[in-house]
Symmetry: C2
Subunit: 269 residues, 2 copies
DNA sequence: CGCACGGTTGACCTGTATCAAGCCGGGTGG
DNA sequence: CCACCCGGCTTGATACAGGTCAACCGTGCG
């Protein structure tokens, strides 16, 4: 089968949908693995790294990143059950992570964008417990975890940074639990959109416009809703003049209305 | 009272019912803050600590625990917004953690029992972002986080252990997201019960019997259900002979049925 | 002893899922 | 280059799980 030609580990997995186009790209993917670049020059460093490092420390931290790796749209960075070796800092592109039960059910647990760290789930059992799928062509910095541990013993700022990143993920998930456990469909979608633009804005994108990189079904999975409900809720927001939606392009016309939707349903419940 | 006759570890938890006896203990509570005990002797150490430490390493790790602290039923170990200083290892007792929105809504994000670590949410912002409430009289080991970081720079097994604990929490929350996002009421409650007995069993309790330390409402909050639904679902399980329920005392008569309920609803969805 | 809180149960309502049909846009093959 | 096809999306009709409201009960606490 086509996938067998990937020497590293990452096979397309999108082979189901696009067999021909994927085959053409497989060799390139591997070549990029040997590319070596320094964090110290990376424009995402304030997202990935602690601030205020001395140049000496910075030099040590540069060693954290082994190589970079490119993932094509639909490809997987890692999958459930796979041995854990590294964390990944996203340089470009957009990922989803999802878990699955034995019976086919699955749940998107998050969407990750440039500057975010992915793979923390793998530490506890030395194996990943979720899938990470690129929703657009992506590039990540591969950071072998034993190297992270080694260097963070020397650079305390890095040590603390790693702890913060993990804690941040825990707190983020608390927020998702709140959303899934106590919000209605409109609130969930409003919270989702606000969260996305806020993160995009922090990366220099518009505060009011965004392109969804995921399908309605993936949004629904993340929000605990069916795709039809996501679609209907979008339509409702459009009717109310809160957003404009054209395909996956969304313009937020009334962010205050979204905020009101998120935290003011208490009159009901 | 009769329950006091269990010598091993199981404390009455009925203390709530007996204020007088509690009053007698209040002064001790304070004194116990200066009480100093070693992890090396703690019977929960395989839950809190890495295994296979040399005695020298063990000595260092003993320094992680500053003091112990007792919390009365209903008391808070820490609250949302409070400055973060320490992680806490639960020695005895049972906690819930919950987050809240500005509008009164709140969500139980977890229930924690002996040997589990609580407080990880506080690392990222130096402030706690949730409340930790004791559901029965409890005692925790206070572990100042700067000391944890310091010692884990020297004892790599501890460093790795801290990472695992945080990763475990992330993975646990993935599971909760799956539950909240894709399961129906019966599945949620079944999964909840199985998870509880499994954790209790790992601590030497029965595989089939448990005492719920939390109200139906708290269970509901955790599971994204209303308390009436929790109650009805319990009743349904009882009718079907899967469990016996008397107040907060639950006996699981047919664990296989619970397992079937958790992962086989795929025929429907 | 009595109150209050937690829990149960019933009747009814509603938000979201489900099922189904049709649309749109982009990529493919003729 | 155009027609077609397919995946993603929208929209409608209907079903149903779980929420809501309300009454009642038990039990443990003051």
């Amino acid at each position: 089968m086509s996938a067998s030609s990937t020497p590293t580990a990452r096979q397309p997995a999108a082979a189901k949908a696009l067999p021909t186009s994927d085959i053409a790209h497989i060799p390139i993917q591997d070549a990029s693995s040997t590319f070596r670049v320094a964090c110290s020059n990376c424009n995402l460093r304030e997202l990935c790294l602690p601030v205020g490092l001395s140049s000496e420390q910075m030099e040590r931290v540069d060693d954290v990143v082994a190589v970079r790796r490119k993932i094509k749209r639909g490809g997987m960075l890692f999958r459930n059950g796979e041995a854990f070796t590294s964390l990944y800092a996203i340089r470009t592109g957009f990922f989803k992570t999802c878990v699955a039960t034995e019976d086919g059910r699955d749940q998107v647990t998050g969407f990750q964008m440039a500057g975010e760290i992915i793979g923390l789930d793998g530490i506890v059992n030395d194996h990943h417990s979720c899938d990470a799928v690129a929703l657009e062509d992506a590039e990540v910095c591969v950071m072998p975890f034993d190297r992270i541990e080694e260097i963070s013993r020397e650079v305390t700022a890095l040590q603390h940074h790693v702890h913060k990143i993990m804690s941040r993920e825990i707190v983020r998930e608390h927020g998702v639990m709140l959303l899934l456990g106590s919000m209605r469909a409109e609130e969930r979608l409003a919270a989702f959109l606000l969260n996305l633009v806020q993160r995009l804005h922090a990366r220099g994108f518009s505060q009011s416009e965004l392109v969804l990189r995921m399908t309605r079904e993936e949004i629904g999975s993340y929000l605990g809703l069916k795709l039809e409900t996501v679609s209907r809720t979008f339509s409702k927001f459009v009717e109310e003049g809160i957003v404009e939606v054209k395909q996956r392009h969304v313009r937020i016309q009334d962010p205050e209305a979204l905020k009101r939707i998120v935290n003011s349903q208490q009159e009901f419940r």
